[in-house]
Amino acid sequence: MTEQVIDVTGLRRSYAGGFEAVRGISFTVGRGELFALLGTNGAGKTSTLELLEGLAEPAGGAVRVLGHDPYQEREAVRPRIGVMLQEGGFPSELTVTETARMWAGCTSGARPVGEALEAVGLAGRGSVRVKQLSGGEKRRLDLAMALIGDPEVLFLDEPTTGLDAEGRRETWNLVRALRERGTTVLLTTHYLEEAEQLADRLAILHEGRIAATGTVADVVASQPSHISFELPEGYLPGDLPPLAQLGVSGHDMAGDRILLRTTELQRAATGLLVWAERAGVELRGLDVRAASLEEAFLRIAQDATRAAADRVSDGSGAGDGSHSTDKETVA
């Protein structure tokens, strides 16, 4: 068994005013694993991360990082972790080198400042004030400081938000290199591609709960693939071969267009195409699409929106919705 570096059970977090940002989540992260918390704004990613970093005390449940409670046993945990917040945290009037020097002085086993800046490509920017850095450079400085003590566990809150495509790719390479060396990484992101590229396992958060979790393949496998096309003129859905025999689990009609859902994409597509060939009909606008993380993600968001809409039409839960938009700015 691999050692569990992060162990979260039934975690809850409430803000003053009663809003519950994290509503009982559980997951574990093994040593050397890269775990991503994926979710839309307000899903509770940052609120969760802050509990793991020991910045706040949970309202319920338990967190263990490297076998310790990160809030109560701060001194045992902090020298072994590195943290990158969602934004900022460095005085704008200090230069890059001065910032790094200060941070190194507060970090056990800190690498030399020059080396730490070199690793993120900021070696040439040492004498520049933090306020004059671009958004991407600030993120890289933040990453360099999170890494300066060679942490065993790294917490990254949206590490590539605000970076251009190249900067994002460089950060990914850096994070992959860290993982190769055995660093355990927990990152939050709202970029699906980032989770797909980097994560060994992920959890999709929605409204403070885990909506889906597992490897990318696991999460995707839980979602159906789609086939859609326009029904030929004069045909009704009943004219198609029996859908159940094709492995289709459900269908929707929108105008002339029919959408079939299946977990056996090849079988369903083959059955359909063979039928079309024999019947001599053309399936206009045919679209055969394997399940993807994006589908899974959108579906979770959609289900939730539908649920929220139901609640609003009931006349309850409207306050809840507006509250959660406020909240991400607080957290």
Binding site: L85, P91, D150
Partner: protein, 271 residues
């Protein structure tokens, strides 16, 4: 570069070089001192305002009727000047420092690291406290040379007065910063205590020239114990019971202030 050797080096260095509170404070104080040097407004308030004050305090003292109080112009002006130094170089400056570090998320970022909460506040206070101390020395020497103050009769009281002041005012600065939403509002939030300390703490108006019941209320203000102890240290005619009362009041403020900081200090901006 081989990644395994770096990892090994990292582990070795980690066990070898744990940071110490002194080392962390040094690193933070150095950064704060750099920042202070770059913040012209704070620097002006901290450096020049307190050093200008003796002149205005002297004018006020010259017009006072000090007969029968046992005070001279020098023993009025010196404690008052030290009081101004505490209010501007330490208190007001630190309110701005704490508020701006919070608004820039520096405090929150530091809290993710190894630095303890108390060290974060102390590290930020070191340069301001050092400037305040240097001013106190300068003002004492200046007053002794120009205002004929002479050596303190009871130096222990004066030292105690300074000690409690340098413990209390950074704490009060942190409390004040807790109750403000921005750097600008923090500067405004600092004003009430500055005014109270001007007029009701024996600084501009020595308690000796006030009616007894007014003086009794003034004795409860946070700056008063230090002013009384410093003044008593120079005149030498402060009774031990009065000195003890002043110390008790000062310690009560420190305890109350520390409690307030632990209870209400905000480490990140309210948005």
């Amino acid at each position: 570069m081989s990644s395994t050797t770096t990892a090994a080096k990292g582990v070795a260095a980690r066990s070898a070089a744990r940071t110490t509170p002194a080392g962390r404070l040094r690193a933070m104080a150095r950064a704060e001192l750099t920042l202070l040097g770059r913040s012209k407004g704070v620097l002006f308030t901290a450096m020049f305002v307190p050093l200008m004050m003796p002149f205005s305090a002297r004018q006020a003292a010259t017009g006072m009727d000090l007969d029968g109080t046992g005070l001279s112009i020098g023993t009025v002006v010196l404690p008052a000047s030290i009081g101004f130094s505490l209010l501007f170089a330490v208190y007001s400056a630190l309110v701005s420092v704490y508020a701006s570090r919070r608004e820039e998320l520096v405090l929150k970022r530091l809290r993710t690291g190894e630095v303890r909460d108390l060290e974060i506040l102390a590290g930020a206070a070191i340069p301001s406290v050092a400037i305040g101390l240097a001013q106190c020395v300068l003002l004492t020497v200046g007053c002794m040379a120009l205002l004929d103050v002479g050596a303190p009769e009871a130096p222990l009281y004066a030292v105690l007065g300074l000690l409690v002041a340098f413990a209390l005012w950074p704490v009060l600065a942190a409390v004040t910063a807790s109750f403000s939403r921005s750097v600008e509002s923090a500067q405004v939030a600092a004003l009430p205590l500055v005014f109270v300390s001007f007029f009701a703490s024996g600084t501009l108006i020595p308690l000796e020239v006030l009616p007894d019941n007014v003086a009794a209320v003034c004795r409860l203000m946070p700056l008063t114990p230090s002013i009384e102890l410093i003044r008593g240290g120079w005149t030498g005619d402060m009774a031990a019971t009065d000195a003890l009362r002043a110390l008790v009041i000062a310690v009560a403020w420190i305890v109350g202030g520390v409690f307030a900081v632990r209870r209400w200090f905000r480490w990140e901006p309210r948005r």
